[in-house]
Amino acid sequence: MKQWMNLKTLVIIVAILFAVAFPQMGFKMYYVHIGVLSLLHILLALGLNLVAGYAGQLSLAQAAFFGIGAYVSALLMLNLKWSFWLAAPLGALAAGLVAVGIGLPTLRLKGPYFVISTMGFGEIVRLVFLNWESVTRGPNGLPGIPAPDPISLGFVTLTFESRVENYYLILTVLLVVLVLYYNLVHSRIGRALRAIRNDYIATQVMGIHVAFYRILAFGVGAALSGLTGALYAGYIRFISPDTFTIGESINILIMMVIGGMGTISGPIIGAIFITYLLETMRVFAEYRLVIYGLLMFLVILYMPHGIAGMLKKLSLRVRAGKKEA
């Protein structure tokens, strides 16, 4: 057990060091951009993972929450001249509250009912972005979103204009999120969610209010996506309905499934892996999706905990092998 923990700690430290050093390693700016997109996708995949991986309810509305966070924060910055630091949490809050509103009637429904409701909701949100032109400017989108305001720390002032600066901002947010996410998953909340996925009737009899925990997971997952939306808006400076489609929800799903549902490292691995492929294999776009589709089927069938689950199994086997030797 001890050795395993040490190995895990080592991997985490190396991963963090690499993530911090990445923009300084002399890659082209294009790769820093892919780095930022990977970080954003990690946040989105973590959000979905809370609902699907832990609570066992598949949501296809994650891109809609991503969009709500982006639009709410962008509109607050553009129209009311709010600071990013105020608008971003509000964007997250808005997405979370909308999810609670949607979750109340639909989350007591089983499997396909909930999936279809989230899919329909996602479509409605996209139609609103597209057709409410007086506010969202419809298909033209919202240009000229300001970057996050500089922060003065007395001796140094942090700005968030460049790619590298945004990279560090989003990495910082991600690390804080990961600590809280770890706490959540390893607390009684995480246990309750996994119990619900296993057997919700037995879970109720344990004194656990199933609907409350489902809505909590859905709401927190949506708020996380909303926060990501605000970070995205502050980075790209332009948003339009094209980004927040069901296709994006499915991308997020692919990342989570291939990386590994119901684990923390899974969404991280999956998001980096798929984002890299998405960006570098644009030429083969058609073939890429054929492969992803098939891959998703095979992974869910033969390794339901994805790459992360496979790595864990491997390291356990290596450890067992060592013991015998």
Binding site: E123, I124, L127, E286, G293, L294, M296, F297
Partner: protein, 292 residues
């Protein structure tokens, strides 16, 4: 006004027929195999492409093409049962949905590569024939969609109610384990169910392909509606799915005709969500008490 109204009713019946034919297979596969098949509307899309090939390229008469397309897709459905459903049978429901969603993405993109992403026209000998009545003209193709759908529904009803296979299917729907103990070959029944479901979806594709256009995305556009139909009808409930299909088809085309086509998709989901809140088992579903 009256003509417009009748026109929209006709459109609604065509739409309802499409939904009914696709939804029947979906609801049967759920009821009998216990599989939530997210890739089901891709059978409708592929059926339409097979129809185009047979009728437009091989120049077969439309009705012959329709029957052949159904046969081809029935074989495809059986392959799907063997390769996709059977391995997924004991997986948790969410994994089934994710797995079949993966298959759906695979089939759509494979169709894009094979047939190109651009919509294809599907003219038939009935496309230009009109039937005029009281100043209302309807293409024969539209009329045929509705009539053929009724015939297929009647046929399905006969199979389910009066044949040995149909009785075995109903037994599996009631209780798969007990059916197995009674000596019913579950694997055979699920193959037949998938063949019938795929053939019905293919019929929908070939019938409405000539009215709309045929494209790799046509299945994606239909899947959420078809699921809405199945849920409103009560998952696994065959007559419920038929009624719900026509109700949604009519609601959608009347909204498109008299309010705005922007809202026609919204209407479906508003109906769905409202019904789910009031009657979670669907309009025609028996509310089931979970065995504990």
């Amino acid at each position: 006004m009256f003509q417009e109204f009748v026109q929209q009713i006709v459109n609604g019946l065509v739409l309802g027929s499409t939904y009914a034919l696709i939804a029947l297979g979906l609801t049967m596969i759920y009821g009998i195999l216990g599989i939530v098949n997210w890739a089901h509307s891709e059978l409708y899309m592929l059926g339409a492409f097979v129809g185009v090939f047979l009728v437009v390229h091989l120049k077969l008469p439309f009705l012959l093409g329709l029957v052949l397309a159904m046969l081809v897709m029935a074989l495809f459905g059986m392959a799907m049962d063997l390769l996709v459903f059977r391995p997924l049978r004991s997986a948790p429901e969410m994994n089934m949905i994710i797995g079949t969603l993966g298959i759906s993405i695979f089939l759509v993109q494979a169709a894009v590569i094979v047939f190109s992403p651009n919509p294809v026209r599907f003219p038939t000998e009935f496309s230009d024939a009109y039937l005029s009545f009281m100043g209302i003209s309807i293409t024969l193709q539209r009329l045929m969609v509705f009539c053929v759908t009724l015939v297929l529904i009647a046929l399905l009803n006969y199979i389910i109610k009066y044949t040995t296979v149909g009785k075995a299917m109903r037994a599996c729907e009631q209780n798969r384990d007990a059916a197995k103990l009674m000596g019913i070959d579950i694997n055979r029944i699920s193959l037949i169910t998938c063949a019938i479901g795929a053939a019905l979806a293919a019929a929908a594709g070939t019938l409405v392909g000539p009215i709309f256009l045929v494209s790799p995305q046509m299945g994606l556009a239909a899947i959420s509606k078809v699921f809405a139909v199945v849920i409103l009808g009560g998952m696994g409930n065959v007559p419920g799915a038929i009624w719900a299909a026509f109700i949604l088809g009519l609601a959608e085309s009347l909204t498109a005709g008299f309010i705005s086509s922007y809202y026609k998709d919204v209407v479906t989901f508003c109906i769905l969500i409202t019904v789910l809140i009031i009657k979670p088992a669907g309009l025609f579903g028996r509310s089931q008490i979970e065995k504990v």
